[in-house]
């Protein structure tokens, strides 16, 4: 990004809910001269939506205390979130204060985790953190378990997710993934998952057409397909950028940033051909880095699925050898010679590989669909069954298949995100028994959205 012929000055900022959300809402933070801060104390400003959901508002206040009360807070652009007005956030209180009231121990907040310390022993001096009491663990050492919560504002996970860990030393004994955001309460109506706004807007439109017994024009169908695939590429790249930051791999994060920058667009429209071509060109270094031995070595064997993968959907299922992709049965995708990307490892490497390969395929599909849209007569009637339009909207989103229906064209959306609950359970199960950083990498590799997991 070059402004006035010069590189912008990038300053670390605390980003609420996270960088990925803003990318999906059409704001490229680098154009605002901002990169996500590695820690709250390093933040020189705070970026937050105009309305902040309650759970995030409390976490924001916690982080703000560390960043400094006089640090500037600003809102970078429109967001689909609902909640407390940004000006009033300071009055909401903090998660930390709630914990103290609960008698669960007072511990200072940190951006990347709300430390509960040894929660069950609230109020004890911190010297006991590693006290030699209790049962010996697997390595023969006797340690007290440390309860720790990572999130809901965390660099590695989507904002709104909380990873509750019980640590034995630095080994994760128990893990649970929770979502603090609720679609109906914290985001605009018709937007069950603000992390994939285009997918849900298309789902709502198709569901309305099903309810009214109509089928969209052919050109509209191709335009929708192009927008969906562009969003898939953007979502996967935004995930990869966060994932690279978690891995501490600046080069990969920068490459992902360069590849996704042309795709960031106003959610009302889809990127044009020139932007898709620019993204395709910028994707080459990402593919190169992801093909390197050091990428494979870092992720292979990490976060292997413990459970039966049959409940999963999307890239998480396809990384576990399940050739399950809603696009396979779609007549429009068949015209574009679509073939699902499947890997067999069931580990973090397989999940990353599926998303990276799907990014390349999605850009090709988007270019193909945009071409068809241009070549299609405006009055031509659409294909029944495209995007599930025969019975209900069935759309393969970046995180899995979503099913949506409406009782009437203007009725509320009834929607299901397939695989989301199973992914939450699988991510926690796969994290157990690993070292702390491996556990974080494991959970991040599932690309969970806090919006579809339920409260």
């Amino acid at each position: 990004v070059v402004l006035n012929g010069r590189r912008p000055r990038l300053e670390p900022a605390l980003v609420v809910p996270d960088e990925m959300s803003w990318t999906m809402w059409g704001t490229d933070l680098r154009e605002l001269g901002v990169v996500p801060a590695g820690s709250a104390t390093a933040a020189r400003s705070i970026l937050a939506p105009a309305h902040v959901p309650q759970a995030l508002a409390q976490a924001l206040n916690d982080a703000r205390r560390l960043a400094g009360d006089d640090v500037a807070v600003r809102s970078p652009g429109p967001s689909p979130l609902l909640g407390v007005r940004l000006e009033d956030v300071a009055e909401v209180g903090t998660i930390d204060a709630l914990r103290t009231e609960d008698g669960r121990g007072h511990h200072g907040p940190e951006m990347d985790g709300h430390d509960q310390g040894h929660g069950a022993h609230g109020g004890q001096d911190h010297h006991d953190m590693m006290a030699i009491v209790g049962e010996p663990s697997r390595d023969g050492l006797v340690m007290e378990a440390i309860d720790l919560e990572v999130g809901p504002l965390s660099g590695g996970l989507a904002g709104g997710l909380v990873l509750a860990l019980s640590l034995d030393g630095d080994v994760v004994e128990d893990a649970e993934v929770r979502a603090t955001l609720v679609a109906g309460r914290d985001a605009a109506p018709l937007m069950p998952d603000p992390l994939t706004p285009v997918t849900w807007r298309v789902a709502a439109d198709v569901a309305a057409e099903v309810a009214s017994g109509t089928v969209a024009r052919a050109r509209t169908q191709w335009e929708r397909l192009a927008a969906l695939e562009a969003e898939r590429a953007l979502s996967h790249l935004a995930w990869l950028r966060s994932f690279a930051r978690l891995l501490g791999w600046a080069e990969l994060a920068a490459a992902a940033q360069r590849a996704l920058a042309p795709l960031v667009h106003d959610t009302a429209g889809a990127p044009g051909d020139d932007r898709l071509q620019a993204a395709t060109r910028a994707l080459a270094p990402v593919l190169h880095l992801a093909g390197r031995a050091r990428f494979r070595r870092r992720l292979a064997g990490r976060g292997v699925l413990r459970d039966d993968p049959s409940g999963l959907s999307g890239p998480n299922a396809r990384a576990a050898a399940l050739a399950r992709d809603g696009r396979s049965a779609d007549p429009l995708y068949a015209e574009l010679a679509f073939a699902p990307v499947v890997r067999s490892g069931g580990d973090a490497l397989a999940r990353a590989s599926v998303r990276i390969e799907e990014t390349r395929a999605a850009l090709d599909l988007a270019v193909g669909a945009a071409g068809r849209a241009r070549a299609t007569d405006a009055a031509a009637s659409g294909t029944p069954g495209a995007l599930g339009s025969a019975a209900r909207a069935a759309i393969e989103g970046p995180r899995g298949r979503i099913l949506a229906s409406r009782a009437a064209p203007d009725a509320p959306l009834e929607a299901v995100a397939e695989g989301a609950p199973a992914a939450r359970v699988a991510a926690a199960a796969a994290a157990r028994g690993s070292e702390l950083s491996a556990a974080l990498v494991t959970v991040a590799s599932f690309d969970l959205s806090p919006w579809t997991l339920g409260a």
Partner: protein, 302 residues
Amino acid sequence: MSDLTPLALLALALGGAFVLAWLERVIAGAGAGPGVVVRDGLATLRQPLSRPGTYDGWLFHLAPGLLLLAAVAALATVPWAPGFRGIDLESGGILFAAALAYVTPAVFMAGWGAGAPLAVVGGFRFLALMLGYAMPIAMVITAVAAPAESLRPADIVEIQHAVPMALVQPYSLALWLPAVMAAALLPPFDVADAPGELGGGVFSRYTGLDAALVALARRVLLLAVAGMTAALFLAGWHGPLLPDAVWMALKTLAVAALLLWAGRRFARVEIDRVVSLAWKVAIPGAIGAIVLAGLTTLLFYR
């Protein structure tokens, strides 16, 4: 050592840290000129000191000072020019390793003092890392000292007037670079603070003067290890045409740029793998380096 040496050393630490902070921004593609470094430093200093509810105040506020002290002590042992060095001991090389050894307790104190689990985990990680990598640093210094038959860094520079040690002992350099990167808390060995993962880890609670001291200490550490690398492996001040000190400064900057660039090229190391690598590869490798250095000395330096 003149009366002005401590002042010169202080100026070197501050000036060097400033240049390296700017170099860091350039390599990270964060743009902007040196003015931003000053502005950022002032912004940090304006923050009030943090007093986390869980902390051990004594350890917490002492750690940044100890870290800076260790960094300056390491810096003082580096031979910058034929007549200029802070501490000129016969065993200067070992003093450098000893100064770096104090980084470990400082970092651990920072994590333990903060009292937050992620900070404590960061502290323990660094302890485990440096238990493995402190020894290779001292052993490699012994290996490069063999041809000079002296542990005084200035003597090691002088013995390289014809051939830099990087060409004579490339294996020692290969062992040295990761070890000093670990000691200087540089990515990809930044397991103690791990931005984006531990959210700042051991340094996550520091604000104001504490944070400024930590930032300064990290740059001085980088300056010290880059300077010592230039001295021990790249013939220090030796070079044609330019004055001695300029050669040393250029080589130090080049090494620092290489270390910062390498940190961006690799994902952060995993603590279990890197500790295993230290004990299974780096330490046996360093013993092998000493043996090879002995043979090289007998064959070519006598």
